[in-house]
């Protein structure tokens, strides 16, 4: 195959767009993290950085998970419990989430994947 024609200026423009996309993604991620750490929504966080008025009302902390029949089966297998013992499964779920929070708050880089 012959070497395809290259267009240096167009290639440079595409690379600039790629850099812009990566930078925008990084900025958005930083604002999501910063707003979560400060219990603000992202738009309030943006206004705070720009030193504009923003609503200081904190986001009501909520942590809910809806478990379906399939989820109970999967969790029961992992916890070594009968799928019908939903109370015990819920207790294990609560313990696991609590353990995650403890690990995360002391070491945000900790491996949180399921072993």
């Amino acid at each position: 195959m012959n070497k395809p024609k290259d267009w240096p200026e167009e290639t440079r423009a595409i690379q600039a767009t790629q850099l812009a996309f990566d930078l925008s993604s990084d900025i958005q991620r930083a604002f999501r993290v910063a707003s979560a750490m400060q219990d603000l929504n992202t738009s309030a966080m943006v206004r705070k950085v720009l030193q504009l008025p923003y609503r200081k009302k904190r986001i009501r902390p909520r942590l809910t998970v809806t478990l379906h029949d399939d989820d109970f089966v999967q969790l029961a297998e992992r916890y070594g419990l009968p799928a019908s013992d939903r109370a015990a499964i819920r207790q294990c779920v609560a313990d696991e989430l609590s353990a995650f929070a403890s690990r995360f708050l002391t070491d945000p880089d900790a491996d949180t994947s399921v072993k």
């Binding site: 423009a13 767009t17 850099l19 996309f21 604002f31």
Partner: protein, 163 residues
Amino acid sequence: MSLVTDGSARSSAFADAGPRDEPLEKELTVDTQSLILSLGDATHAGRTFNVMPVTGDDPVLQIVVSGAEETPVYLTITDTQILCLVYLFEQNEIRPSALADLHESMLRISVPMPLSALGKVDNHYVVYGALSPTSSLTEVMQELVTLADNAIDLLQTFEDFLE
């Protein structure tokens, strides 16, 4: 996130954009500064534009079209074209077994898709449109709206091919 521009000044290239466009005026070349000013204050088919310049050596604008906020358009201008680009997904998001079917589907969709085509930049699959650098503001806005809407349709169309 968007940068709100006051729109108090109009670019010379777009000063009289609209029904009175004349051939001589269309020879004026678009630049990113004029687009920031013009788009921040413009409406096209009921859609508005939030424009944010992205820091870098080469000027790139991130443009969010109202009603298509999840698919921001990245725009850059060279001597030969205005390139508008939306990033769809990365290669590692595609189910390996679906890769060939996805490519076939992309090639087939690309031709009838209005004003846009599909491509790949590094590991990113993109949908893009290119215009002449002497395009009018109306043409640029039509491109932006169509591209952002196309991107949403494509993400839905290709959903089954992704992890």
